[in-house]
């Protein structure tokens, strides 16, 4: 159920004011930093560069896709003014192409491509030995092609996102740190409008126009604790998303109310990692004990809760469902990484156990009939990831990775959406890091 207590902003107007205030704060801080930088002879630039190219394929049920490529380029010319002040401008470009098999009449494949470009600036100011102030302002554009008739820039789900974040980190004498902060962002879908918005008769009556656009704010706190070879991290975040133009639908007769949709989203994550003592691998007489294996063990737990005031009215079955988008999800991820020395190659294995429970959605049979006992939908997924990475020359890393995903649900109505399936993928990659 939607909780008014999490409605931090109460609407787009207040959100806009908050963004302006934080932007002013960040710009002021940046100006101060630049002044400090100009005045200092210590200023230096440390470029960070990371690029990777991948080639892989995906399989869905018994069907094979067509091998496709992906790349990621990240460039950060870090400006280090002095020991305390650092500016991190970042440019990132990421392309992912996933060709999925057949089922369309002429092309034989559906090629899902996304191309992200991101530009942001992050400021890190170590105020003293105990406090670090961080600020971040960025813009991201994602272009998506999911169907044959979508060209770059015309994708229905293209979106742009602007974000602003300010946080403070407190370091304690013990290797413990606590960070708290605020992140606000707006997401806009320039090509997505409600179809009814073009109808003069219904434009005011129905759902709204730019129904997917949101203004969001997250308040978060996280803690990190390093103790010898054990590292503990946990984070708690609460996000409020306001849909400025999406009206709530009535569960009684399907008409649109004046109330706008609001989603509250909270997540809690806790992870523990352990570096266990090295063990030697006695291979060959000339080994001289140089061959060792470092082992990193980890386990991560994540809990997500989403609460929305939006309902759904099923026009096929004449049935209204309240709080339709509410769900709870947990994910437990044990992982292990073996680092083989002196080769410096890594073998990593992780396994996600994911359970998603919808709070209100009712199970439907294969014909779409709702369960008489109003049993709620769940979806369970298991994902296994394997990756082997090894250096091929200085600063170059090659990798082979594969994943297996199994998803099961009590929801049997799969006319629009597949809830029960198996999927596999592999990827070969090479990366360069400086």
């Amino acid at each position: 159920m939607y909780n008014k207590n999490t409605d931090f902003y109460g609407g787009k107007l207040k959100m806009t004011r908050k963004i302006k205030f934080m932007a002013l704060l960040l710009v002021s801080g940046s100006a101060a930093l630049m002044s400090a930088g100009q005045a200092s002879a210590e200023t230096k630039i440390m470029p960070l560069f990371n690029a990777s190219l991948g080639f892989g394929n995906a399989f869905y049920l018994e069907n094979s896709g067509t091998p496709s490529i992906s790349y990621d380029i990240d460039y950060v010319p870090a400006v280090i003014f002095n020991e305390k002040l650092t500016l991190l401008p970042r440019l990132n470009s990421n392309y992912s192409g996933t060709m999925m098999p057949k089922e369309i009449e002429e092309e034989g494949n559906i090629y899902v491509q996304t191309w992200d470009n991101l530009l942001y600036t992050k400021i890190v100011d170590k105020l003293n030995t105990s406090w670090i102030l961080r600020g971040e302002l960025g813009f991201k554009s994602e272009l998506a092609r999911e169907t044959a008739d979508e060209s770059w820039g015309s994708g229905l789900y293209d979106y742009g996102k602007t974000h602003l974040e300010v946080s403070m980190e407190k370091k304690f004498e013990k290797p413990i740190s606590i960070t708290f902060g605020e992140r606000i962002y707006s997401t806009t879908f320039p090509n997505y409008r409600a179809l009814s918005a073009d109808s003069t008769q219904y434009s005011q009556l129905l759902s709204g126009d730019k129904v997917l656009d949101t203004a969001s704010g997250e308040t978060f706190i996280k803690m990190e604790w390093l103790l010898n070879r054990t590292f503990l991290a946990c984070k708690l975040g609460a996000t409020q998303s306001n849909y400025g133009d999406q009206k709530v639908v009535s569960i009684v007769d399907g008409h649109y109310l004046d109330t706008k949709r609001k989603d509250a989203y909270s997540n809690f994550t806790v992870g523990v990692s352990q570096l266990i003592p090295d063990f030697k691998v006695p291979l060959g007489a000339d080994d001289e004990g140089r061959r060792k294996v470092k082992t990193f063990l980890g386990i991560n737990y994540e809990s997500i809760a989403k609460d929305s005031n939006q309902n759904q009215f099923d026009t096929e079955k004449i049935k209204g469902i309240g709080d339709y988008y509410d769900y709870r999800q947990t994910c437990i991820t044990p992982s292990v990484t073996f680092r083989f020395l002196p080769a410096n190659s890594d073998l990593s294995i992780s396994y996600d156990v994911i359970r998603k429970n919808y709070s209100s959605r009712i199970v439907q049979d294969v014909n779409g009939n709702y369960a008489a006992d109003e049993e709620k939908i769940y979806q369970s997924s298991n994902v296994m990831n394997l990756r082997f990475a090894f250096p091929v020359m200085k600063k170059y890393l090659a990798s082979i990775s594969c994943s297996f995903r199994n998803s099961r649900s009590n929801m049997l109505y799969e006319k629009y959406f597949q809830y029960n399936f198996n999927a596999y993928s592999y990827m070969l990659g090479v990366g360069y890091e400086y």
Partner: protein
């Protein structure tokens, strides 16, 4: 045009994309340990990685939103790999009216199906919200009405006194199916061969098929059916008069009078030689042609030339064309499509039937995706192409009024 829904695969597509793009997750344990011990360069990388992981969380949030769209069936992909968007609404324009509204959007434009049902009485009001509770008007679908021995049947609480439905494109063309002044009659079902089952059905005083074009914003009445005689509430059904365009004229004339026979609404061949309008009978200068997956099937003899193999491979794809005496024609193609995109063949249809019970076959059919395509002489090369799924309009808005109700 065939059309299909493969968006159900999107979950897997997105899953694969995420799997392929998140190699960083493999190094979870290593990074968590190594991060705090890092050198300046590593420390800066750690700052960047922190930002990356937050960015990933927000990307997942957008994926979550997209999944909601796909799960609701609002965004689909057709058989050609093109984007099709569907929006379906239910409105209550008046206390005794229900309106169904669907939009089908392709790259070529938006086509609309709109149907307004005016009921015999007001929709009950929900006591808590004081809003009309259309969930309580379930009997509107005649398939759900009671049937049994004539003396046992009970009249449905709600029925449509009038219907105003229209399919249209965004170029100004539309086809309307309208009916007015409907009353309940006790009619035998098409299984009346055993003379034992009956049901209530609505017969309208006047029904129309009308066209409108971009060039002519006034409706052109192509067909009028007038109900004459009969006694509402009884099994005395009266007759139907067909008014069709007159030969070489723009006015309509009485072309045929037939006895009301509900068996014809199911398009079943009747040994007495009574056919629905679309069943291939030639009246004066008006002719009707029916095609089943490309084969002309105007009369019973059409089937005798087909082998069993040809029959079971036939797609559920019908085109009915009425050639009017004024030289114009109106064509309606209806095809049924499985959720994985193929047009249903008779063979696959039979296989589907084997998995269900006799009681739910109509429901099962209504769950298929329907695509209706209308063409007319007046439209030129343009057409109206609508995908819809609510069974309630399938029955009333498209089929029944084009047949002898």
């Amino acid at each position: 045009m065939k059309s299909m829904h493969i968006s159900r695969r999107i979950e897997a597509v997105i899953a694969a994309a995420i799997i392929l793009g998140t190699a960083a997750k493999f190094c979870l344990a290593e990074e968590m340990v190594a991060g705090p011990l890092a050198s300046l360069r590593s420390e800066l990388k750690q700052e960047v990685n922190d930002s990356k992981s937050r960015e990933q969380m927000e990307t997942i949030g957008v994926q979550d939103l997209k999944l909601g769209e796909y799960q609701d069936g609002k965004s689909l992909t057709d058989v050609h790999g093109n984007r099709v968007r569907l929006e379906q609404y239910i409105l209550v324009p008046q206390p005794n009216q229900i309106e169904f509204l669907t939009y089908t959007k392709r790259d070529t434009g938006v086509d609309t199906l709109k149907a307004v049902y005016t009921l015999n009485k007001d929709i009950p009001v929900d006591l808590e919200t004081n809003a009309p509770d259309i969930r309580r008007v379930g009997e509107l679908d005649p398939n759900k009405w009671d049937s049994g021995a004539l003396s046992d049947i009970t009249a449905p609480e709600f029925y449509a006194k009038s219907i105003d439905s229209r399919v249209s494109n965004d170029k100004g063309d539309s086809v309307a199916f309208q009916a007015e002044n409907g009353d309940l009659y006790k009619v035998p079902t098409f299984t009346d061969l055993f003379n034992s089952t009956y049901k209530y059905d609505v017969i309208y005083e006047n029904s129309y098929i009308k066209l409108k074009t971009a060039a002519n914003s006034d409706d052109i009445t192509k067909v009028r059916l007038a109900h004459v005689g009969g006694t509402a509430g009884t099994a005395t059904l009266g007759t139907l008069e067909y008014y069709l365009p007159k030969y070489q004229s723009t006015t309509n004339e009485l072309s045929k009078t037939v006895t009301v026979d509900p068996s014809k609404r199911d398009s079943i061949y009747n040994a007495n030689g009574k056919y629905a309008l679309v069943d291939g009978l030639t009246w004066a200068h008006t002719t009707c042609d029916s095609y089943w997956d490309g084969t002309k099937v105007n009369d019973i003899n059409a089937w005798s030339d087909m082998t069993l193999s040809q029959l079971i491979n036939k797609k559920l794809d019908w085109t009915n064309t009425v050639n009017f005496a004024d030289g114009t024609s109106l064509s309606h193609r209806e095809t049924w499509i499985k959720d994985d995109g193929e047009q249903l063949s008779l063979g696959s249809f039979v296989n589907m039937l084997r998995s269900i019970t006799p009681d739910n076959w109509a429901v099962k059919l209504s769950e298929l995706n329907h695509e209706g395509i209308w063409t007319a002489t007046e439209f030129g090369s343009r057409s109206i192409d609508v995908i819809w799924s609510p069974s309630i309009f399938v029955k009333v808005a498209t089929s029944d009024l084009s047949k002898n109700k």
